[in-house]
């Protein structure tokens, strides 16, 4: 569904992404994992055109992403970031309804869709008139997910969506996210630095380091057969809860 071919990106002297090829197959959840600064977020942002690669091509459903196609493509992508990126001056209803408003939907159509998404994300309709700052962290992420799913996009891109939540809420949301991904059968690309979260959600996993892919494939493969010393250390760094 989304494919990166020979992508590089340089920020001044720092090579953030170094000739990467990556495929995110239809209906699967691809997790990008690695330490901070490994380039995983940059890759995700390239998929939605927030960052343009110096070299290489981003293919969306076989078509290359260009200035001309980007606005159309963005409506087929749901994008969600840490803290949600909800607009502080808009209520939940207005935040979720911002794209329909931009596209000129009838409000009845928007409301039907909002009701569907409330159910899917298990939010109460009492939340609709609140402002983001009146929500808890978990609620904000659910609203952000609603907004991302509003146009029923083909692809969901999530950048550390649960990064800032406390463990209980995080576990609950991980569970819900997995259910939603399975239920909707979306192509998902998720960035995280949490190995357990990656293992729980991923169909495919890609480990990055210094802008290069270290290893990609099944999660179990990464655990059992790390390709090099770094991959092994990354896996072992996750401290087991029960020994």
């Amino acid at each position: 569904m989304i494919e990166l071919r020979g992508i590089s990106k340089r920020y001044g002297a720092h090579l953030a992404v170094d000739s990467i090829d990556l495929e995110c197959p239809q209906g699967k959840t691809q997790v990008l994992i690695g330490t901070s600064g490994c380039g995983k977020s940059t890759l995700l942002r390239m998929m939605v055109g927030l960052v343009l690669p110096d070299t290489g091509t981003v293919l969306f459903g076989e078509k290359p992403l260009t200035e001309q196609t980007i606005s159309e493509v963005r409506q087929r992508i749901g994008y969600m970031i840490q803290e949600g990126g909800l607009f502080p001056h808009l209520t939940v209803r207005e935040n979720v309804g911002i794209v329909p408003r931009f596209l000129g939907w009838q409000s009845a159509r928007t409301n039907v869709r909002i009701d569907e998404l409330l159910e899917l994300t298990q939010l109460s309709s009492a939340m609709l008139d609140r402002f983001p700052r009146q929500l808890s962290g978990g609620q904000r992420q659910r609203v952000s997910l609603m907004r991302a799913l509003m146009l029923d996009p083909d692809v969901l891109l999530l950048d550390e969506p649960l990064g800032d939540l406390d463990p209980m809420i995080r576990a609950e949301l991980q569970q819900d996210l997995r259910t939603i991904f399975r239920e909707l059968g979306k192509t998902v690309v998720l960035v995280t630095h949490d190995l357990a979260e990656a293992g729980f959600l991923a169909d495919r996993i890609t480990l990055l380091r210094g802008g290069k892919i270290v290893q990609q494939g099944e999660f179990a493969d990464l655990l059992e057969h790390p390709v090099d010393d770094f991959a092994a250390r990354f896996v072992q760094a996750q401290r087991p809860v029960f020994s």
Binding site: L50, I77, Y79, H89
Partner: protein
């Protein structure tokens, strides 16, 4: 969004409502000092006694008034022959008392005969000094080089002032201080100076019993008071010029001094002093009713609000787009910010005076309540805070909001209107608030070029050394600024999204718990 459009529309309409008070009938000008104002009042009252309407505008300095007469913004005003020769026709070395009439005629201006007094410069000393040192004329000063001289700043610099006076009379005094004219009188009275320059009709001359030194070499030019009027006045109002000529040779130096003293001591109002003189001397009966203080303040308030409204509102509409531009194109934006910043550094008086010519060129009114000069200056001054706050407000929006909006596929126009401007609105409104409060204060300076408003009583109060009169302008101006502040705070509730305002008490902020 809808209510913002509505407010914008209402404001725009408000900005272009014409000024309430435009001058009616024949417009009499005067310069902003008591004697000129008294003569202006006499002229207005004479005109009214013929049944015509008259408006008296106290305008500013010589150039401003004379140019206003040339353009026809005023119809007549009192002037001095010496001023015409030394200031108005200073580029013409041939200008003299004799050919003045011809020079004025070339500008389509007529002049009356002398009104009867010469308000020239003279040097004055205390009576005790004069008697002890036996001083009678200016040349007697040469024998006493240790006398302390205190001159008005203007007199020190003028060609017909101290510079050439000392050459002509061979004076060698070293102790020469420049000071404000009214301060010089205090210093002379307190014996901290011995000689000062005076105008021969100054009220204080009699009050302090000063001795004028004779100008035997006729160094000082004559400053005969005359009335200048447009040459079309007689055809527009037949018989009026004849009425005005009643003032010719009607006011003796002593009488003028007395009138000045009456107004300075605040025994009677300026218009009453003028009316009494006309009645006693020329048997012209006029009805003078001085408006109450409250009525005057109310009138000034309307005039002041007019200036603020017509400058601040257009400034808002111009500055917000400029601020958006500056935020979106930072390089060119620096130029925009620089330009409006430079305007801010031009001293107010200089800006006002510089603007008179271009405003007059486009045939806009430069005087009174509708003074476009003052409005344009205030407009320019109001730009900076709004442009800067708009630009800063927009460029300090957290990048994640911009990124979210972009990733959602919103167009840049939609993003600006629905995300960026609302997020920047607290900053923009703060800029408008600053501009508004500044504007109310600056508008008082408009009086320097003849605009109406609170500046008029302030300026007049300063000239008459009348604290009460100053307060009549200063206190309402301060109140208006505070009111405007309240108004904007109230407007904030409408314009700034609820969630961007500080939390109301009792409201729970979950995100910070």
């Amino acid at each position: 969004m809808k209510h913002i459009l509505l407010i914008g529309l209402v404001l725009l309409l408000l900005a272009f409502v014409p000024s309430g008070s435009s001058p009616r009938g024949i417009r009499v000008g005067s310069k902003q000092f008591p004697e000129s104002d008294i003569l202006g009042d006499m002229l207005s009252q004479i005109i009214r006694s013929t049944g015509e309407e008259a408006t008296h505008l106290s305008v500013g300095g010589t150039t401003v008034v004379f140019d206003a007469l040339k353009r026809g913004e005023i119809d007549l005003y009192p002037e001095y022959t010496g001023t015409l020769i030394k200031e108005v026709f200073s580029n013409n070395p041939q200008a003299s008392q004799e050919n003045l009439e011809a020079l004025l005629a070339a500008e389509n201006i007529c002049t009356s005969q002398s009104l009867g007094f010469n308000n020239s410069y003279a040097l004055a000393v205390r009576r005790d000094t004069a008697e002890q040192l036996n001083l009678e004329s200016i040349e007697d000063l040469a024998a006493h080089p240790n006398l302390r001289l205190g001159f008005s700043n203007e007199f020190v610099d003028r060609d017909d002032g101290w510079k050439n006076l000392r050459k002509r009379y061979g004076l060698t005094h070293q102790d020469v201080a420049g000071m404000e004219h009214s301060v010089a009188y205090r210093q002379l009275e307190a014996e901290s100076i011995d000689v000062m320059d005076v105008y021969t009709t100054d009220a204080q001359l009699a009050e302090l019993d000063l001795v004028l030194l004779k100008d035997n070499l006729q160094y000082f030019p004559r400053y005969d008071a005359v009335v200048l009027y447009r040459s079309d006045l007689e055809s527009r109002f037949p018989g009026l010029v004849e009425k005005i000529s009643l003032l010719e040779m009607a006011i003796s130096p002593d009488e003028m001094r007395k009138l000045n003293a009456q107004v300075a001591s605040r025994e009677v109002s300026q218009s009453q002093a003028a009316a009494e003189f006309l009645n006693d001397k020329l048997d012209i009966k006029t009805q003078v009713k001085d408006p109450s203080v409250a009525a005057r303040i109310w009138q000034r308030t309307l005039e002041h609000c007019d200036l603020v409204r017509r400058s601040l509102i257009p400034a808002i509409f111009a500055a917000i787009p400029l601020g958006i531009f500056a935020a979106k194109f930072p390089r060119v934006g620096q130029l925009v910010l620089g330009a409006v910043g430079v305007v801010q550094t031009i001293p107010a008086l200089a800006l006002l005076v510089l603007l008179i010519a271009p405003v007059a060129y486009f045939n806009f009114s430069t005087l009174g309540a509708g003074s476009v000069t003052a409005v344009v200056a205030l407009f320019l001054y109001s730009l900076l805070p709004i442009v800067r706050n708009t630009a800063t407000g927009l460029s300090s929006i957290a990048p994640e909001y911009i990124e979210s909006a972009t990733a959602l596929g919103l167009s840049s126009k939609f993003r600006l209107l629905h995300i960026e401007l609302p997020l920047a609105s607290p900053s923009i409104l703060a800029g408008i608030k600053t501009a508004g409060v500044m504007n109310v204060g600056f508008a008082t300076l408009g009086a320097l070029v003849g605009a109406d408003g609170y500046g008029q009583p302030i300026l007049k109060g300063i000239r008459l050394n009348d604290t009460g009169l100053i307060m009549q302008g200063a206190i309402p101006a301060a109140c208006l600024a505070i009111l405007l502040q309240f108004f904007f705070e109230y407007a904030e509730r409408w314009l700034v999204p609820a969630s961007l305002r500080p939390l109301a008490s009792g409201e729970v902020d979950v995100s910070r718990s």
